[in-house]
Subunit: 211 residues, 2 copies
Amino acid sequence: MLRGEITTAIRRAVMQELAAVGYGRLSIEAVARRAGVSKTAIYRRWSSKLELVLEIVSAAAGKSLPLPDTGDLRDDLEMLFAIMARALRHPIAAQIIPDLLGEAARNPQIAQTLETALRINQREVGGQILGRAIARGELAPETDLDLAVDLIVGPLYWRLAVSRSPLAPEDLPRMATAVAAALEVACQPTVRFEPDTALSSIAPSAESGRS
Amino acid sequence: MLRGEITTAIRRAVMQELAAVGYGRLSIEAVARRAGVSKTAIYRRWSSKLELVLEIVSAAAGKSLPLPDTGDLRDDLEMLFAIMARALRHPIAAQIIPDLLGEAARNPQIAQTLETALRINQREVGGQILGRAIARGELAPETDLDLAVDLIVGPLYWRLAVSRSPLAPEDLPRMATAVAAALEVACQPTVRFEPDTALSSIAPSAESGRS
DNA sequence: ACACGTCGGGACGCAACCGTACCGTCGCTG
DNA sequence: CAGCGACGGTACGGTTGCGTCCCGACGTGT
């Protein structure tokens, strides 16, 4: 029987090593050293570096986040951003995610795993938020889910994972407000802004008082 | 004197190798093989793998894009998106950019080089677009440049470099419209406005003297 | 208590890569 | 034409990692 403590140590070592040197430079020997086990212990459990990383990463990324329904699109977004920001602030995640996304451009297996583990999850979350907003009448029913996901995830991901500039806590509500406005407009792409149209869609969310 | 043809061959080989295996697995020997030159030829020109990549990448990324003034924020954005989309569609760029951004999370030197080569450039472009929009009265003067850049660059980058789902040509105008709306809303978030105050910064005819 | 089966650890052969030292060649100069 | 200096290519020792094999340790069942 495989000893669970050793499996756990390997898992943790893989995450740390992935954060330290990236998938490209990840070596079984370094993982074994860091975990304090032998290579054999790893090869008994996983047959290759790819399988090792895929299994561990999808296990770690598979946990879906419960997302409370605040009753308002902008507040839903702010809640989602807060959760994403907290996840992306973990130093290990912040190192691993961009690295694996870069590697996914090169390795179809990794791409597919991330697709399954992350993007499906995000699509579901995005679909959840959007579905609620449509049900409430905040968004038009024919919203393009792909475009909406880009608008929701892109800015925060860019800031936290790519640009890495510090994000003040008060930036989240502003970003949520902005993204909500983008989503509202994205549903009805042909409409040009007349002030009244813009106002009628902006005012409720800008007004929705929190604090 | 160093032979220019060999230097050129090395440069091209570095880009190809970078796209093929990434920075982490990039080896001088592989570059030399691909370029059809010897390792010595590389070591004579650059002292290390880091210096090699930094010099070549910043040379390639340093070219700034001329951005015509269309006279409208939304159209400026659409034009920018079209340029970005064309750049990110080049297979080599599409492979190298996410890889280096991931590596930048680990290597401060790469981070700083990309900062200088890419983000300063983008900030300038962003600032240009935003400055025009502010001058036209489309945006409030106190727009947060960082947040604005996130909103502009994030969605398209996410779609093209991370999610990699196909982007139909007709999606660009829609994204531009949505991002323009986000920018308009993002200008006045810190103070919670009454609707007519918000209107004054959205309406094209508003005077922009508020502080 | 003993024999068996399974597991982890260390060692081994092999391959790739690093960075350098040396060698032959080419072009310039006097 | 001859000498010199700089260039590119090959060869080398050392290091690291891969994947496998064998051995000792440990727990289990009788």
